[in-house]
């Protein structure tokens, strides 16, 4: 046993309890504080939280006391929520009426008696809104607000189809970073990831500069990162204030690689979440998001593969079918054609046999006909000709006698005519022939007065000289 005077811890605790009860027991205080680390057990209607006060300039925490609200206090909180429409939760600035309690095991606690609903917005939220407003106003080229959404350059990037190269920003002691890595590397699909870790403090607003420097280091690594993941394990709500920092929000919004946040908190979204490409609630969820993203790609590929298998099988079967049908068509048709041609040949054969027979018969009969005509005709022609000749002969005989008779008659006529016209006869009838220069003449112009002329008359020649020549118009001989 030590000689030093001592008491038991519980005795000290009881002394503290008595002292505090004496000092604060019967009084309550209206205090202004921020709520953090709030949790609520619905079935018991218990609120647990911390009340904090921060330096408005540096945001450093000046005071922190655990708080609780049971029974009446919890009812007042419910009323507060009903009146303000604001949930009693982290980051709200409240004016609460508290009594001070000390419990030997649970320590110092402030017990809420009442809450003033007029203090609806906490300073933290006001600051947060101010920071968001400043981000939008000062960086219009890569941050703008659309409805409740913030459109940033970062969240407009399209994620690569497959995420494999990952830069992780976490604290080197972070359980969250380990959760993230573990979930990724032990994924059930066997996906392989290349993870580069960038360690930096992820709590305390004064570490914001170092955090931004880490982001720049990721960029300067010039590796083909598919995404940058910011992880942070669970912890008290106040530890997340760094992620509401203006510089970090701006750097994330502007960052040229999609940023995925897995900042372990369930109750609020930080400005970094709002600026990032994708926000998830925890490091594990961030890893699951990446795995799901890759899984979706793999499923698309598998669907493609399946499609290719099915389509190629369809293609083969349809090609085999069309080949087979062409094959049978050609075989059958070729056979048909042959059969048809064979039939045609048989028919033509038959026809030619029959036709040639009938042609021969026809020719034979016409030959007989012609020959019979040839045989009969000449006889009759000859007969007719003979007849004609006989007739001609008989005509000749008849006409010959007649002809001679006629000829004899005309001869006799001419003889008597000639006899009558002979000069002897004419001279006997008193006509004379006059000759001039021993030439017979009938032209009186040959005879001139003084000419000697010979006159022949009935067997005598009389020589005379022309004494006179006159025109004579006697008509003695006009018969």
């Amino acid at each position: 046993m030590s000689a030093i005077q001592h008491i038991r811890l519980s005795e000290l605790s009881n002394q503290i309890t008595d002292t505090l009860r004496a000092a604060f027991g019967m009084t309550s205080f209206w205090v202004i504080a921020d709520i953090t680390n709030h949790s609520f057990r619905g079935q018991k209607n218990y609120h647990y939280f911390e009340l904090v006060e921060k330096d408005p300039d540096s945001n450093n925490i000046l005071a922190r006391i655990a708080g609780k609200a049971w029974g009446n206090g919890a009812d007042r909180i419910a009323n507060f929520e009903k009146v303000t429409g604001q949930q009693f939760t982290n980051n709200i600035h409240v004016l609460v009426n508290v009594s001070v309690q000390y419990h030997p095991v649970h320590g110092l606690q402030l017990n809420i008696q009442d809450i003033d609903p007029h203090f609806t917005l906490g300073v933290l939220e006001q600051q947060r809104q101010a920071t968001l407003g400043r981000l939008v106003t000062e960086n219009p080229e890569f941050i703008r607000k659309s409805g409740d959404q913030y459109i940033t350059r970062n969240n407009q990037w399209k994620l690569n189809r497959v995420i494999q190269q990952i830069a992780v920003i976490s604290s080197n002691t972070s359980a969250g970073g380990e959760d993230f890595k573990h979930t990724l590397l032990n994924n059930p699909f066997g996906y392989i990831f290349q993870i580069d870790e960038y360690h930096t403090a992820v709590q305390g607003e004064n570490n914001a500069e170092a955090f931004v420097a880490k982001l720049i280091a990721v960029f300067n690594a010039a590796k083909p990162y598919d995404v940058v993941v910011i992880t942070r394990g669970g912890g008290a709500q106040t530890d997340f204030l760094i992620f509401d920092n203006y510089k970090i929000g701006k750097a994330v919004a502007k960052f040229p690689i999609p940023v995925i946040t897995g900042i372990g908190h369930q109750k609020n979204e930080t400005i970094t979440d709002l600026m990032a490409h994708t926000q998830t609630k925890t490091p594990t969820k961030a890893a699951e998001f990446i795995i799901a993203h890759n899984k979706k790609y793999e499923e698309e590929m598998l669907a493609f593969q399946q499609n290719i298998v099915i389509r190629s099988q369809q293609l083969f079967s349809s090609n085999f079918q069309s080949l087979a049908s062409l094959n049978s068509l050609i075989v059958n048709k070729a056979r048909d054609i042959l059969i048809q041609h064979k039939d045609n040949v048989v028919r033509i054969n038959q026809v030619s046999i029959n036709t040639s027979k009938s042609i021969l018969f026809k020719h034979r009969s016409s030959l007989v006909n012609i020959s019979s005509r040839i045989l009969s005709k000449p006889e009759s022609i000859l007969y007719r000709k003979k007849n004609d000749i006989r007739q001609l002969v008989s005509h000749f005989n008849v006409f010959k006698i007649q002809y001679f008779k006629n000829q004899q008659g005309s001869l006799n006529h001419y003889r008597s005519m000639i006899r009558m016209m002979s000069p002897d006869n004419i001279l006997n009838k008193g006509f004379a022939i006059v000759k001039v220069n021993d030439q017979v003449t009938g032209n009186p112009d040959d005879i001139r007065i003084g000419n000697d002329i010979d006159i022949i008359l009935s067997g005598f020649e009389i020589r005379s000289t022309v004494k006179q020549k006159t025109k004579y118009d006697g008509k003695d001989f006009n018969l």
Binding site: Y191, L323, A334
Partner: protein
């Protein structure tokens, strides 16, 4: 068979012969020749199709056995 014969051209020629035979525009003089050519083409097409199918099946099997991507 020509070295440059492709499935596509063989099939087209086959279809043309089948057409001619179906329309009976093939004279008997060349019928045997056409049917012989058709049978060559069918053999060619079937061989080609079967070898391609085998090859594709092999590739598909490899695809399916490849498992999750690296």
């Amino acid at each position: 068979m020509e070295k440059t014969l492709t499935y596509e051209s063989a099939y087209n020629e086959l279809a043309r012969i089948a057409d001619e035979i179906e329309n009976e525009s093939v004279s008997v003089d060349v019928l045997a020749q056409k049917v012989k050519r058709a049978s060559e083409l069918i053999t060619f097409c079937q061989t080609k199709l079967k070898s391609t199918e085998a090859e594709v099946n092999k590739i598909i099997a490899q695809m399916e056995n490849a498992g999750p991507k690296q």
